[in-house]
Symmetry: C2
Subunit: 671 residues, 2 copies
Amino acid sequence: MLLLEQEAKELLEGYGIRTAKGVVCGSEEEAVRAARAMGFPVVMKVHGILHKSDVGGVVLNVKSEEEVRSAFRRLSAIEGSRGVNVQPQVSGVELIIGAAENEQFGSFVMFGLGGVFVEVLKDVSFRLLPLDRREALEMIREIRGYRILEGYRGFRADIDAVAELIVKVGEIVERESVVEMDLNPVFANERGCFVADARIVKGKRRSFEYEARDIGFFFNPRSVAVVGASRTPGKPGNNIIWNLKTHGFKGKIYPVNPNAEEIHDLKCYPSLKDIPDSVDVAIIAVPAKIVPEVMRDCAEKGVKGVVILSSGFSEEGEEGAKIEKEVVRIAKEAGILILGPNTTGGLNTETGFITSFAPLMGVNKGNISLIAQTGLFLGVLMVSIFSNHPHVGFSKIIGMGNKIDVQDHEALDFLLRDDKTSVVGIYMEGIRNGRAFYNVAKSAKKPIVIFKSGRTEYGQKAAMSHTASICGNDDIFDAVCRQANLVRVYSFDELLDVAKAFAFQPLPKGNRIGIIHYTGSGCVQSADTAFFSGLKLANFKKDTVERIKSVSPEWHGVNNPVDIWPMVEYFGVEKTYNTAMEAILRDENVDSMVVAMDVGPFWGDYSPNFEKLRSFGKPVYFVLEGHRDLVFEQKNKFEENRFPVYSNAINAIQVLGKVTRYALKYADTRR
Amino acid sequence: MLLLEQEAKELLEGYGIRTAKGVVCGSEEEAVRAARAMGFPVVMKVHGILHKSDVGGVVLNVKSEEEVRSAFRRLSAIEGSRGVNVQPQVSGVELIIGAAENEQFGSFVMFGLGGVFVEVLKDVSFRLLPLDRREALEMIREIRGYRILEGYRGFRADIDAVAELIVKVGEIVERESVVEMDLNPVFANERGCFVADARIVKGKRRSFEYEARDIGFFFNPRSVAVVGASRTPGKPGNNIIWNLKTHGFKGKIYPVNPNAEEIHDLKCYPSLKDIPDSVDVAIIAVPAKIVPEVMRDCAEKGVKGVVILSSGFSEEGEEGAKIEKEVVRIAKEAGILILGPNTTGGLNTETGFITSFAPLMGVNKGNISLIAQTGLFLGVLMVSIFSNHPHVGFSKIIGMGNKIDVQDHEALDFLLRDDKTSVVGIYMEGIRNGRAFYNVAKSAKKPIVIFKSGRTEYGQKAAMSHTASICGNDDIFDAVCRQANLVRVYSFDELLDVAKAFAFQPLPKGNRIGIIHYTGSGCVQSADTAFFSGLKLANFKKDTVERIKSVSPEWHGVNNPVDIWPMVEYFGVEKTYNTAMEAILRDENVDSMVVAMDVGPFWGDYSPNFEKLRSFGKPVYFVLEGHRDLVFEQKNKFEENRFPVYSNAINAIQVLGKVTRYALKYADTRR
């Protein structure tokens, strides 16, 4: 229900918001009287037409009776005019504050400068509701044109008042059941904010009911059935059993295949119902069209959860969608949880439970857990990750597939409660209950690193055919990341780079970085990157500089970044690096450190004193460069000691920038 | 010399530029007369004060005699007022067009929307002079607010007229010896452009005289002396000789060291003067303070060029700067060219000539040449590149060091003329004669890929201490890259990724890409990246889709990107990939292709038919994912066949985006 402008303004005034309320006038005389009562100048607008500016329906700065008359005649002649609105003219910076609903995330507010800034430059920021003053201030500071509010050519906005107005808009949306609101323009000056024009639509707000069911049993079942087990080595149905045995799963394994006696020395059963034991989890790897039948067996058998690996459901068209619907129906009725379909499923490195149909080796245990919406994750991608980072360890990996039942927020909720997990990494394309995800994510006390694709129309189209889920609008998603303090990354490589930093090293307490590099060009690139990553080059204290100078030739200047090569040439790798690194970490002006080393011929068998470095309680990231094989060998040694290694200083510092932003915001919101 | 506003406007009108010339009035009566003559509304401005808006010195929309009088009284009361300027009021989109000089690059023009757009949002574009209409149009389209010019809320600018005005500004700067010009505001509407206010400063324009001396002899000397040769293995002065012998340099090598008889079986000479032969190039690796003495010997000996590896010159302070000055003086007098100092110098893979003091192995010959302003380039960094990319080959590598003599443009000029070089990669921090570099670069008929650091104040400070050269303003540099069609990259990794694409594959003829990926998530990420990289997902022709469908299960949809995994499961890697790749390359709606493959267990010993792929004459880039070792092995096989391989689809498509932009612009400017 669209409120009339006057109604809308009255509603706003009821919340203590000042509006430039006008008078709708039907005649020249009425308009002149109204203008006189308000005092000149006034603004006159055609009444009864949206997008008034487009039809020349707004006259600003009307300064005299004569001008009122002429404006009235002009405006009332516009087709569709239902009178002329006379309002006092307020001045200041023109803002737009709006609210609307997003399909996945529900109500949000938008903030921006008015006119071309929002319409052409898209210089706006978003936040989900509810939001507090701190979040409102953040969204104000986020726009590129923020400096205009701080004071530009005589204007200056009362930023606290703008924040207050944004918070009130949020309140009104929630209390008055508003589904759309546009305060446009709002004038902000030193004395506060005035809403010049308001459009409010009340209605039934989208509701986001959800539960976060416990999916923990998926990762530690007592007994598991593999439906579609195969005798043929290399076939997916064979690999599943091979994986479970290879990873040392200690629970019962029941292969199901009507045509086999034994698979990998395990007795085979013709159907689920023939298994002489209860079954916690069934891994289903049969063609889509047979899955409903298997589900019925699962219901009968009292299976708690199924992992459906098969594809051919809604991602492949109508026929598949029908099957999917039936599968979900059976599951709901029987209280069975479904992970997938169209996935490699899950892995728990502690229990060796694994559902993947792709042979997986070289798993490393650790404290990173992953949620991924991609079919082959527990295949090619994890093989790539394990083999490239042998000392980066994982706890749980959850392949979500099409998410026809278990949702992202449930997987996340499980990992946030899991005490073996200290960092969560997420790959996501679409999301089904964004609001639930946001609520769970916002409460997190662990870092969450997220790579979201399907950002563009192109990508969304590709995602539709792939996972049959709806992609969120990327601007809203970006706001969600800021608001819930999710660390957003843009590739799997970056996801891993950031996750391992969180997993290995303490959080920084500030943004002042100390840098050591073995080349001058590395120093320059590092300094550039620090700036672009929101980090400050620490001002070393005098005694820090002295300490570093003790391992430097006299003619060589000591700055931050420390250009260490000439020092190494004189004092050797070990003495120089140890002295410089410890001096920097000891400095109370330093919150974090990035150290680059060349592992070439000058290196010898140098290894930093990791215990010593750790004792300062500040994050230290390394960069190792040189021959591929030597670098890999050294990197593994460093990462075994839980010091993350990057292939160049730009990467390392970008990661530190993201970690620092997370850490400072986390500390700030907990204060 | 600052022109008066009226003078400035007359100058502009002389070039056919319309200006809103006003009349400076000393009295109310005069102002009223002037306004009547022009027709209302008029604009009134205080005369004799800069930044008029800041003091309330501009009154717009003055509509009556009465208003003229009141405005006159207000304006003439402003302190410093020397009368009131009355001008006809023109309307339209407010623009700013300016010109100024940059220390490194000389005269440039700036374009942007007026007011906050330029002052707060910095939404401006730059181009060096001279510029043509095409370049002016490019700079107009480059700003974020471009849509405002195309038509917004009733306004629309005549974009051709704006371009013409920009070109004229360029002409005026050059013909009239202008060092600064601000046309602000310029009003653009459908009927053209009107300059409302103009500020012009004439003066002596910066001159950029330069020559591009031939430095080719550095890379193919008949005889070379190594001053500072050492008997001790592992010492820099020993490595140089070791490198020359290991790389098979066929010219004469004369080690110079007063305390040695022989080094690496070569007779040693106490000084340069004792060498019984002429010396083309001397490699100098003695402490900075001894270098002037060596230079004097070089002068006496008639050496043509020296490569000074030593550091300790102006990058390390005053003392070093003095030595540097002396070295340059001697060289100029004797006509000796200097490469360096503070560098590893040069490498020519064809002749085996190398000057590096860091032992270098595993060099790959090829058609990429590099110019790098970093000391250790021909050490650690090239070792890293050679070992990670064994089939990416290089021709010349030129370490520039402090550039006290030979400059970037001379190195570039040499490589552009070198027929063994087909792609040039550049790493640069500061630049000494930017204008010379720009001129040489703009004439290039080969792709130039450039990584420029020292972009921020932080980075520039670090660069000062490192290379003692001045860094250009990053915005201007970015304009230089666009204008000269340099491919700008942001890391060494990206430099190599782009360079190898140029080196291996043909240029695309359009921006329509076909993509194959083995995961759905890869398809989504690829589609996103294509969009962000300015590429279009090709619309496959009907028979292309049919061909691909012939290797697809019926239930699987064929789109672009092609999600190939379900197809591979049914038809095997070889048949599926070959059919899909050839179908796509055959399609006349496709200009380029990126193909991702998993090199895991399903792969077998599949290898694409490289000859067949090459026969279509379209660029094809590959992505290989999976186990580290397998990927490396396969990647080498592909790159040996000159098909570049990337570690993920995002990288590959970003590279293709940059290559495509280069190719289309190159074709366009040659048309």
